[in-house]
Amino acid sequence: MAKEAAYVPNILRQGRWVPWLYLGPALILMSIFILYPGLNTLYLSFRNQNGSDWAYTTCLAGQPCWGIFENYRYALTSSIMRTAFGNNLKWILFMVSGTVLLGLLIATLADRVRYEALAKAIIFMPMAISFVGAGVIWKFVYDYGSSQVQIGLLNALITSLGGRPVSWLTEPQINTLALIVVGIWMWTGFCMTVLSAAIKGVPAELLEAARVDGANEWTVFWQIRVPLILPTIAVVITTMIINVLKIFDIVYVMTGGNYGTEVIANRLYIEMYTSYNTGRAAAIAMVLTVIIIPAIIFNIRRFRAQEAMR
């Protein structure tokens, strides 16, 4: 009784407007930097190339036309965007599985060696390099010389073994995979670090108990470790999916989206800054946002579930 009667300043009481006061700064910032640009992008996606008129004015006679959604027709059905969707799918399949599996493998193996810190530092190192820097480095690795001398590391290896040099970045089929390898090289360190922390969180008693009961290491890994760190794996996967959907730098630096390596974010950039078509760029941005939203929702739900468990 006496405790409840203690003096509480008015401002700390949960009133009608006090929560808004606390939320205010965040709301204002979010409105200025997220809400307003977001709504304006949505509006611009229905406008023409410079926002001066509605999108249907860009329709051509005798061509298919989606009226005010004309920019979305481009963003969803044009051949270059279909290439981009296909490539983003490839990126998700190969890069997410590559980084997560490699990260898990390295985290597990590193857990058992004395020089763990050193090994993990080396794997993590590429994360410290800027994407553009990594793109330039790998562009040299993949360099293809049309003459006898190969200054590209990979082609120098191949020719010294008697093979024929490959133009890694221009050959369709190979080039997107070559770019994905760069992505995996950069992001494995991130997955490894997060997964390693989760692995270390698995109680040693559980592992001991299983081993005492006669489980071999393979069983311990799949039956005990992996199920216990599954929530973390899920978060890593969704984070990587979001990252990969937004992939831009590597493609922009290494191929500029040419030779069939186009991805959604690079197309967005080209429409905006090379073609000066804000309508199309805005439509692509909206499409990209809509694709990413489910991954974000999933991620937040997982995060909340994890918080609730603590």
Binding site: S167, V253, G260, Y276
Partner: protein, 455 residues
């Protein structure tokens, strides 16, 4: 007590410093609020303070009523040595009229766009021809500003004339319709410089028969990859169809998938895809950097005999191989049979009508302006006053070509707005890479052309 006093003193001192620091910066911003001086003012200004230098001492520069201290804001893409040359060209004007030039240099077009959209454009911008179309409602026509029309050939006025208004003045040009080669190597191998397209074709076949690779081609140029291909194809169009055809493509009168364009692609593709005709074949063409492609012709031994590249290649050769001598070890000839030149020009456009702007326009378009441009050696000047005033031998030769040409066409891809240029490059890459057949590629580019031109 004394501690507090000190605090107060420190704060006051800080404030005083702040105010002092801000004050001088604030004054110049008042200048632009001046109303533009009436154009009817006589050039002589009797009301001027005595500090004014007595009118142009036979410098031949008309200040158009600009007063000493008048500011002129400029935006251009030049930097370093280019900027130094521009300053050299503008110095007589600055000296004669006392105009204060406030330049800004950037390669980022977004800066120009932002400034214009914000309502604070530079007085003068030196930019691309596409901006004349983009800003046609905001630019002041050149004839209003007193430009000397008589110093420019029709084909230099035409691209700058948008919907009947003469909005842009080409100040600097570089010609692209040229092929670089090594006279020494040609002599040693018994090749002669071709003068017709048929001779070029025969020469190429002769080189192949001798086991030499005729062409060095290189597309790679970051996110602009493919432009060397589109340049070459435009030259073939100039040979086979002539300048009017190219201008019709730019206008949209000729669709990009016309038979003439297809023929040019086929001629180009025959060379660019085959390792007998170009270093490394299709993959070599795609993955070689455009600068490396130039070097390959002048390496020892040369990997190829010729490279088709714009005027800037000469500077690149000199930088890479400082021992080579122009005219002996490297030289160029015009693409034989071309009925016009392809070239890039930097266009001067005016967003405001002030005496200082008028003075600049009048000066640069005058005989003197052209001559000074040529003497500074800042590429070529389309101004007729430039002819014969170049000092650099290669510029002299290029200036000759420019003075004698029957047509001058801007880059198709740069001129058609709305992503056409990128679509053209992408199409050429796909064609060379063999990922799409030619008809599909051309139809796709033609579709973008129609979209961009609204036809």
């Amino acid at each position: 007590m004394s501690k507090r006093l000190w605090k107060v003193i420190v704060v006051l001192a800080g404030l005083a410093l702040l105010i002092a620091a801000c004050a001088p910066a604030a004054t110049p911003t008042q200048a632009p609020t001046q109303p533009p001086a009436e154009p009817t003012q006589p050039p002589a200004q009797p009301t001027q303070p005595p500090a004014e230098p007595t009118q142009p001492p036979a410098s031949g520069i008309d200040c158009m009523g600009a007063k000493p201290g008048d500011e002129l804001t400029m935006l251009y893409q030049w930097s370093g040595q280019e900027e130094a040359r521009l300053n050299e060209i503008l110095k007589p004007l600055v000296d004669a009229c006392g105009i204060v030039i406030k330049p800004e240099s950037t390669r980022d077009q977004a800066l120009l766009d932002t400034k214009v959209q914000a309502g604070t454009p530079p007085d003068i911008a030196f930019w691309n021809v596409a901006q004349l179309v983009q800003y046609q409602d905001k630019l002041v026509p050149m004839d209003v500003l007193g430009a000397h029309r008589e110093n420019y050939a029709d084909f230099f006025v035409q691209p700058g004339t948008i919907n009947g208004k003469w909005l842009g003045l080409p100040v600097k040009a570089d010609i692209k319709t040229i092929i670089w080669y090594s006279p020494a190597v040609f002599k040693a191998k018994g090749y002669t410089v071709p003068t017709t397209w048929e001779e070029l074709d025969a020469l190429v076949e002769k080189m192949v028969a001798n086991g030499d690779v005729p062409w060095s081609m290189g597309f790679e140029s970051g996110d602009a990859t493919g432009w060397t291909g589109s340049d070459f194809i435009q030259d073939i169009l100039l040979v086979k169809q002539g300048p009017q055809y190219v201008l019709d493509i730019i206008d949209g009168k000729v669709p990009y998938n016309d038979a003439g364009v297809k023929e040019a692609y086929e001629i180009y593709g025959k060379w660019a895809k085959d390792p007998k005709y170009t270093v490394g074949g299709a993959q070599g063409t795609l993955s070689t950097g455009f600068l490396d492609a130039i070097y390959k012709v002048f390496s020892d031994p040369p990997e190829a005999m010729m490279v088709r590249q714009s005027g800037f290649a000469g500077g690149e050769i000199a930088r890479k191989y400082p021992d080579l001598v122009y005219g002996e070890d490297y030289d160029f000839f015009m693409v034989p049979g071309a009925k016009g030149l392809q070239g890039g020009a930097d266009w001067m456009m005016a967003f405001r009508d002030t005496p200082a702007v008028r003075a600049l326009v009048a000066y640069l378009s005058s005989d003197l302006g052209g001559a000074n441009w040529a003497k500074a050696g800042f590429d070529l000047s389309p101004n007729k006053g430039a002819t014969g005033n170049y000092t650099d031998p290669s510029l002299l030769k290029k200036g000759e070509m420019l003075a004698n040409t029957q047509g001058f066409t801007p880059d198709i891809g740069d001129t058609i707005p709305g992503g056409f240029g990128k679509a053209e490059w992408t199409g050429i890459i796909e064609f060379i890479n063999g990922t799409k057949d030619l008809d599909t590629v051309l139809a796709e580019i033609a579709r973008v052309q129609a979209e961009a031109l609204g036809k």
